[in-house]
Structures are given as structure tokens and as C-alpha cells.
């Protein structure tokens, strides 16, 4: 569960209306091919992480991980993890970035 808290007008708050508009996109064949290729790269990285989940999560708690070209990069900050992945695999635009909480916890979303 995630619920937005609105400040009362008397406290200087206002109720923001933030609309989301859905648009059916007409991508060119080239754009569509790139769209699918990026998705396939991401799913490959995601599948790799799923296959190595127990060892990766156990060894790198409290760290940021980035998976690119099915290779794992670990750092203390997200930008460092991304930089490592980019340096090694600049061609992979389907990288997967994740933070591994310090402690394993039961999640009742949102936080």
C-alpha cells in the first residue's frame, strides 16, 4: 500500500492533480526493433540474476548491484555500480540495477 499524504490548505498545502495520460505509440520499425532488443537484453540480465539470486543476495547485502551482459557489478552507490557496468559493457542498454537491503525482511508494500 502506498498512500499520498496531502497537507491541509491551512498548513500551506494544496491537493496536486497529477494526471497520467495513456498514449498508444506508433514507433517506426527501427524504433520498435530497438525497443524489443533492449527488452530482451534486460530480460537476459534479469534471468541471470534470478539464476544466481541466492548467492548474489547473500554476499552483497547493503550494496547496489548492476547486471549487464549477464555480468555482476557491485558498488556502494548506484552511480558507481552503473559506471562499472557501463565501462565493461557500454553496448548493454538493458542493464538491471538493484539495491540489496542490509537485512532480509518481510515486505508488506510499500515500505
Amino acid at each position: 500500500m502506498i498512500r499520498q499524504i496531502f497537507a491541509k490548505p491551512s498548513e500551506g498545502g494544496s491537493t496536486p492533480r497529477r494526471e497520467v495520460v495513456m498514449v498508444e505509440e506508433q514507433l517506426s520499425p527501427e524504433e520498435l526493433a530497438a525497443f524489443h532488443a533492449q527488452g530482451e537484453r534486460f530480460e537476459r540480465n534479469s534471468d541471470w540474476l534470478d539464476a544466481h539470486a541466492s548467492e548474489v543476495y547473500a554476499q552483497h547485502r547493503g550494496k547496489y548491484i548492476c547486471v549487464a551482459a549477464c555480468e555482476l557489478f557491485v558498488a556502494d552507490t548506484p552511480l558507481e555500480a552503473i559506471a562499472l557496468a557501463r565501462a565493461a559493457h557500454p553496448e548493454d542498454d538493458g542493464r538491471l540495477l538493484r539495491y540489496i537491503p542490509k537485512e532480509k525482511r518481510i515486505c508488506i508494500y510499500a515500505h
Partner: protein, 144 residues
């Protein structure tokens, strides 16, 4: 319209319903993100590491979002989310979203009801189905 997701093993060993999407970053590129399908979330929210990766600037004042664990600070961001349809084409959602700034606030970005309300959401663990349907697609509940 049919948008397919899947059940994914998360870091705590839990298996959760996710949809893969792409989010427009500040540099004009698209970043792949897993979204938890969260019908309890009022809004679609990016996790803190995704916000860093996107490089987006806040489009307004910080907003407090509350969940079971209490309140956490977030910032509004304007961007677009692309999801892939069953025929391979894309559908985009443009507008204002939110992003947590505290890494511990949220493990995974969530797809909330400001997008989910545009669809019927099916989250069926026994049959291994996660999907969003609308327009020409529909579902039928049958007694077998």
C-alpha cells in the same frame, strides 16, 4: 490491449507479480525497470536507485507517501513509462509520478492505481499469470 507480466523471485525469496517497463531518463534514453503490480498503491512510484539512474530532477516540492511502515519522503518527477503490448507495440504513460529518495523506503518500483485503473489487472499465482487487459481484450470468470 494485453500487457503481460510475470512472477519474479525477489531478494527475500518472495515471488511477486511484476511488469517490465521502460522509463524515460533525463538524457533521453530509456531505462528498463521492474514494476511491482501493486493494486494497494495510490500512485506509481520509482525506487530511490531508479531515480538516481534516471537522473530526473524533481518537478515540485517533496511529498510524503505513507505505507504500512510509516511515512517516507518522495519527490514528484515528470517522465514517461512505456509498456509492451501483446502485439509487440508500445503504450506510453506520460505525466507526473513520484520517486522515493530514501533507499530503504522501497525495494522495488511499484505500478500503482494511477496506471492500473486504466486496466483490469490479473494477478493469478496458481496459474502463473500476471497481466493488464483493456480495450478489445476482456476476461471471463467460469465455473468448471
Amino acid at each position: 490491449m494485453l500487457i503481460s507480466g510475470h512472477w519474479r523471485v525477489c531478494e527475500d525469496g518472495g515471488v511477486r507479480p511484476v511488469v517490465s517497463g521502460r522509463v524515460l531518463a533525463a538524457d533521453g534514453s530509456w531505462r528498463e525497470v521492474h514494476f511491482l503490480v501493486d493494486t494497494g498503491a495510490d500512485r506509481t512510484v520509482f525506487s530511490a536507485e531508479v531515480l538516481v539512474d534516471l537522473g530526473l530532477a524533481a518537478s515540485g516540492s517533496p511529498v510524503q507517501l505513507s505505507g504500512v511502515g510509516g511515512q517516507a519522503a518522495s519527490v514528484p518527477v515528470d517522465t514517461s513509462i512505456r509498456l509492451q503490448r501483446e502485439d509487440g507495440t508500445a503504450v506510453a504513460f506520460h505525466g507526473g509520478f513520484d520517486a522515493f529518495t530514501d533507499q530503504d523506503a522501497l525495494d522495488m518500483s511499484v505500478l500503482g492505481r494511477n496506471i492500473l485503473n486504466l486496466f483490469a489487472a490479473i494477478v493469478d499465482r496458481p496459474r502463473d499469470v500476471v497481466c493488464l487487459i483493456g480495450q478489445r481484450h476482456q476476461y471471463v470468470i467460469q465455473t468448471l
